[in-house]
C-alpha cells in the first residue's frame, strides 16, 4: 500500500517475544491428540490379517481392501450421500432462518424479547434422549420416518437455537447506523440488510455455519432411531461396524476415514474464515 507523503511514519511494532517452550507445549498437545487418529487411519489401509494381529504392526503394504468392502459390498456411499444432503440442507435452512431471528432479537425492542431468546435457548437444554419417543411418534404419524426430509426438518429445528444465540451477539456488535446510512442513501430495509449488514456479518455467519454443519454431520442419536434403510446417515451406519463379536478393525478404520475426511478438508479450507468469524467483535475499535 502506498503511503501518503504527508502522513507521519508510525513507529515500528514492539518486538514480539518468542518463547520456544510455547511451541514445545503446542507440538506435544498436537502429537498426543493426533497419534490415535493417525493409528485409526493407518488401520483403515491395512488388510484384514494385519489389522487384527495381536502385536501392533507399524509398517505394512497399504491395501484398499476395507474401502472396497465398504463402498462396493456395503454401499456406504449411499449413507455418505445422505449425510451430505442432510447436513448441507439443515445448515442452509437453520442459518437462513436463524439469521433473521437473530437480527430481530438484536435490533428490535419488543415486549417479551428476553423471554423469547431464553426460550430459544431452553430448546437446546433438553437431552435428545428425553424427546426421542415423542419425536418418533410424531414422525411416524407424519410419515417422515426414514426420510431425508424428516432429518432435515429435525436438524434445522435442533440447530436453530445455536444459530440464533451465536448470531444475536454478532448482530448486536454491528452498529445500526450502517443500515440507517444505507436507507438514507436510498435503499429499502432489505437491500440495506443484504448489501451492508450481511457482508459485514459474513465471517461470523460462515463460522456459525461451519459449526452447525459439523453438529449435523456428527448427529447420532436421532439418526439411529429415526432412520433404518433409505435415509440412514454416516454415524449410525458406521456404528454397525463397531458392534458384534468379530470386529473388523480395518473396516472400522476405513469407515472412520470416510466420515472424518470431509470435515477435516472442510475445516482446513475454511479455517481462516472460521478464526476471523469467531474473533469478530472481540477487538473493538
Amino acid at each position: 500500500m502506498k503511503k501518503l507523503s504527508s502522513m507521519p511514519e508510525s513507529p515500528s511494532a514492539p518486538p514480539v517475544q518468542r518463547n520456544w517452550w510455547v511451541y514445545v507445549v503446542l507440538i506435544l498437545v498436537c502429537v498426543v491428540n493426533f497419534l490415535p487418529y493417525l493409528r485409526v487411519v493407518m488401520t483403515g489401509f491395512m488388510d484384514g490379517a494385519t489389522s487384527s494381529s495381536a502385536t501392533p504392526i507399524w509398517f505394512f503394504t497399504p491395501s484398499l481392501e476395507a474401502f472396497d468392502y465398504l463402498i462396493f459390498e456395503k454401499g456406504i456411499m449411499k449413507n455418505f450421500f445422505n449425510s451430505v444432503v442432510v447436513s448441507l440442507a439443515s445448515t442452509f435452512f437453520s442459518v437462513t432462518i436463524g439469521m433473521f431471528c437473530a437480527y430481530a432479537l438484536a435490533r428490535y425492542d419488543f415486549p417479551g424479547r428476553d423471554d423469547v431468546s431464553f426460550w430459544v435457548l431452553t430448546n437446546r437444554m433438553m437431552p435428545p434422549v428425553a424427546v426421542l419417543i415423542p419425536i418418533f411418534v410424531t414422525f411416524q404419524t407424519a410419515g417422515l420416518l426414514d426420510t431425508l426430509l424428516g432429518l432435515i426438518i429435525l436438524y434445522t429445528a435442533m440447530q436453530l437455537p445455536f444459530v440464533v444465540w451465536m448470531l444475536t451477539g454478532y448482530f448486536r456488535d454491528i452498529p445500526r447506523r450502517y443500515e440507517e446510512s444505507a436507507m438514507v442513501d436510498g435503499d429499502t430495509w432489505f437491500a440495506a440488510f443484504r448489501k451492508v449488514t450481511l457482508p459485514i456479518m459474513a465471517p461470523s455467519i460462515t463460522a456459525t455455519a461451519i459449526f452447525v454443519m459439523i453438529l449435523s454431520w456428527n448427529e447420532f442419536a436421532f439418526a439411529t432411531f429415526l432412520t433404518s434403510n433409505q435415509a440412514k446417515t454416516m454415524p449410525p451406519a458406521i456404528m454397525a461396524y463397531s458392534i458384534g463379536a468379530d470386529i473388523k478393525w480395518n473396516v472400522l478404520g476405513a469407515a472412520v476415514v470416510l466420515i472424518t475426511a470431509p470435515l477435516i478438508l472442510f475445516v482446513l479450507l475454511l479455517q481462516r474464515q472460521l478464526i476471523s468469524g469467531l474473533s469478530q467483535g472481540v477487538v473493538r475499535k
Binding site: R177, M183, V184, D187
Partner: protein, 381 residues
Amino acid sequence: MAEIEINSLMKQFGAFQAVNDVNITVNNGEFVFLLGPSGCGKTTTLRMIAGLEMPSSGRIAIGGRNVTFLRPRHRNVGMVFQDYGLYRHLTVFGNIAYPLEVRRLQRAEIARKVNAVARTMQITEVLQRKPDQLSAGQLQRVAIARMLVRDADVFLMDEPMSHLDAQLRGQMRAELRHIQKSVGVTTIFVTHDQLEAMTMADRIIVMKDGEMLQFATPREIFERPATEFVATFVGEPQMNVFDVRITRIEGKVAAMTEDFVIPLDGTWVQEKGVENLVGQGVRLGVRPEHISVSDKADGSHGVAAELYSFEPTGAENLYVLQCGGVTITTRSSTTETAHLDKGEGSRLYAGFDPNWIYLFEPGSGRTIAQATASRSENEEM
C-alpha cells in the same frame, strides 16, 4: 434544494418526551444549527427529518412535500453520521459511489461524479483504500463526500466533527461553511459545541429538554438570549449569572447582592420597566468581556474582589474573581491588564459595564431585560 417546514413536532419514547412541540422553518440554502446539551432532543429531531425515527405527532415538509411518515429513501436527504457510518467492507470509492449505485446510474457517470467530489474534498489519493486505513480527518471527508455526491434536497449532519482534534476541527469549520455556501443546499447540523454553531451557522436553534428555546441568528442568540440557559450555553467563558435584589439607593435603581451593589443605567431602567421590580429578587447576567478589572477602586470599579485564579490564554487574560459569595469570570486583553497582580488572593476591583447587563426571571429563566447596547435584528422585544 428545498426549504424545510416543521410544525408542532413531537416524539415520545414511552413516557419520556424527547421532542416537544418543535416548530422550524428553514429557508432554501440556509445553514441551520440545532444546538443543545446531550439528551436535549436535537439528534432525535434530525433523525425524524431523515425518516429514521417516526414522529409521535406533527408535520415535516421538505420542499413543500409532506414527508412526515415517508421512508428515508423517499425523502432525498443526504446525511453524515456522528461516527461517519462508512461501510467497512467497501473502499472509499465504493462508499462514495454507494448512493449512486442505489440509483442505478451509469458506471461512467458514477466514476465521474465520485472523482469530482473526491477532488473537492481532497481525498483522491485514498479512493482505493478501506475505511480502517484512514485517519479521522479523512474519514470525515469521505463521509461528507458521500453526502455531497448525490443531488439531495437537504443535507443533515449529526455531530460530524466530534471525533476530530481541535486543530482539524477549526480547519473543517471554515471548509464546511465554504462548501455549504458554494453548493447552496439547505443544511441542518446538530452539535453540542456552541463554538461550531456560532461560527458556521446562518441561524441557530437552541434546544433543551426537547423544547426549542430560541431560533435566531448567532448574533441575536449571543446578544439577545431568550432565556438564562441560552445566555450561559453560548459564549466562552460563559456568562456570569447570579442572584441580585433590585433596590432603590439614593433615588436610583440598582442591583444588590449581599456583598456589593451594581449601579444600573437610568434610561435602561425606565425603558425596561425595571422600577417595577424594586424589592424583588432576579438573576443578573453579564458576560466576562463586559467586566473590567482594576487594581484601584474608582467610580467604574466599585466591586472589591479577591483573585481566585488567573488564566492567561495568550491574547486575553481570564480573571476568576471572588466577590464575597459570588464568583465571576472576567476576560480582558492582555495589554490592558499587564500591570495587574496575578497572584492568587490579590485584591482587585471589578466594574460592570451598565450597557451590557441582562436580567432573568428566577425559576423560569426567561429574559426580563436585554442589555441596552444589544441590537435586535427584528426588534421584537
